[in-house]
Symmetry: C2
Subunit: 324 residues, 2 copies
């Protein structure tokens, strides 16, 4: 198998993207304390993390502000309260969902913003709307990435067509997103080849955002990396929706670039994550997530089952299969 | 990359080996109730599991019987109490450690035993002793496998020499064992190629026994499978020493042979594993195991740290690195 790089060397094109507040925010409706976010920000800088995603730029017309913490909306002033002018080597990212972002109102000129990268999330049937947002953000001066979600239920022809359309846009990078945690490493390598083919053609980079339903988030991330994928999403303790993501501590301990350092993340695990878990915040691999992942389904029923602490796994499984 | 089989078909050479009582026994000193073992036995049969390992054939001269439950010793009558004459398609296995088994006394003629397979565990420096045990057990009429433990700290030349020696014995199969949970999929595929080369030369099969320190037990198992490895060790809920093993429910949901059925295992998770965990039995992925795995070290300090519920991960890590 052809790989880019080896297990002992490192690739200078690699970027580690911490998505803890954004994907973890889906667990607690974005209600992190400023202290938590500030400590994570400082730890990420010390750990050598390249980008930190602070949350969504969600439309306040669609989502009532009272129902969420500040990171659902990522106002400029909310971020600056944490990072000031972000006098560091780490860049700041936010996510903007197609159809759920009032981008013409809420995304200001880059020259007035502390944000560097706008990550645009889309389903495969709204690629033109995603590209419209890319062009808008690019014009404003931001770096941009496109994230096609739930591709494990899309067909190859559609994915290829989407990649070819996206390639012709001003976007900087394209993400492989395994929303359902359904993709196996063997498939991930093929997907990486496919994304990289179009990325190379149009001079873009490729990223990966994995979910851990089948305990494959880390494996899929390093397998995609070995093929040439370079933007790698992680969250501290894998904190994220449902089964969560590739854990920062797994990836930072694996990468060989001496700029990366696991120790600041271990501090966060000890002082911030242990208390969150003790206070009852729940995320990470569990049987219901495994089952939706195996069946290539949205994790919604598994999230509900976990919230209710259901352990009647057989009933849960039979319902899933029946629903299909 | 050349693979054996595809993700949609199945390979008739695959065998699923449940090692819950043996590897899980390392968590509770082999003190499972007969009821637990019987329910697992019945569930494994219904799930299509091909072998069930009941524990160790440990020497009573070395290990005081009072310190352990019955599955440390696997007397013939202990197993028969659960399985009778094992009137099923599932075969019975036990493990015998080189240097810790009084095999000439404790391993009787196969014709008098309900055991089918004797799995001989060795380090790389005791291969001749392992082969002596293989020949003894083979002569007695058993199937045999050899398990070279902790190979992540062995060098390639030694491994190749060991495989060539083992190949010339009467053993039926050779196992890749990732005792430290230190091996990455990219390395696992190369190891699989190496083991399969010698296995093909001498007409043996290859098995895999993975540990989950870096959340790679399932990934490494299916990657090894894709290269041609055919005997796949699992435990229910990944129950096993330290970070545990590849979970039965992950693998059985992945395999495409219609003989395999995840439902009986989901029943065991609900009715047997949930209570064990509620009663305080601890196993599975956690930060200390991740760190020993990353550093390619024995999980012993991580097991101790987990028992003491230590969360001072930085101190723990610094001690590990210092110890090296």
């Amino acid at each position: 198998m052809e790989t880019k790089g080896t297990l002992l060397s490192y690739r200078p094109d690699v970027r580690v993207v911490d998505a803890t507040i954004r994907d973890g925010g889906l667990v607690n409706d974005f209600r992190f304390t400023d202290e938590f976010v500030k400590k994570l920000y400082q730890a990420n800088i010390k750990a050598g993390v390249d980008y930190m995603e602070f949350g969504y730029k969600a439309s306040k017309d669609i989502f009532p502000e009272a129902d969420f913490g500040p990171w659902k909306f990522c106002r400029e002033e909310s971020i600056r309260k944490i990072v000031g002018d972000n006098d560091s080597d780490m860049k700041i990212a936010v996510m903007a969902d197609v159809g759920r972002t009032d981008f013409r109102r809420d995304i200001i000129d880059k020259s007035d913003s502390v944000i560097d990268l706008i990550r645009i999330a889309t389903y495969i049937n709204t690629i033109p709307a995603a590209i419209e947002m890319v062009e808008y953000c690019h014009e404003k001066g931001y770096e941009t990435t496109i994230h096609i979600m739930a591709i494990s239920s899309d067909n190859d022809t559609d994915i290829e067509e989407a990649l070819d359309l996206i390639g012709q846009s001003s976007v900087d990078g394209i993400y492989i997103v395994d929303s359902y945690g359904a993709i196996y490493p063997e498939q991930m390598r093929k997907l990486a080849d496919k994304y990289l083919f179009f990325a190379d053609k149009y001079d873009k980079f490729v990223g990966i955002h994995a979910h851990n339903n089948q305990q494959l988030a880390f494996a899929n991330t390093i397998e995609a990396l070995s093929k040439g994928v370079s933007y790698l999403d992680v969250t501290v303790s894998g904190m994220g929706r449902g089964a969560g993501n590739c854990a920062s501590e797994l990836l930072l301990g694996f990468l060989k670039n001496p700029k990366y350092n696991i120790l600041p993340i271990l501090d966060i695990l000890e002082h911030e994550i242990v208390p969150l878990k003790e206070n009852g915040m729940i995320w990470g691999y569990d049987v219901p997530y495994l089952l939706t992942g195996q069946l290539n389904q949205h994790p919604r029923p598994a999230i509900a089952a976990t919230k209710e602490r259901r352990t009647d796994y057989r009933n849960f499984y039979v319902d899933l299969v029946d629903y299909k």
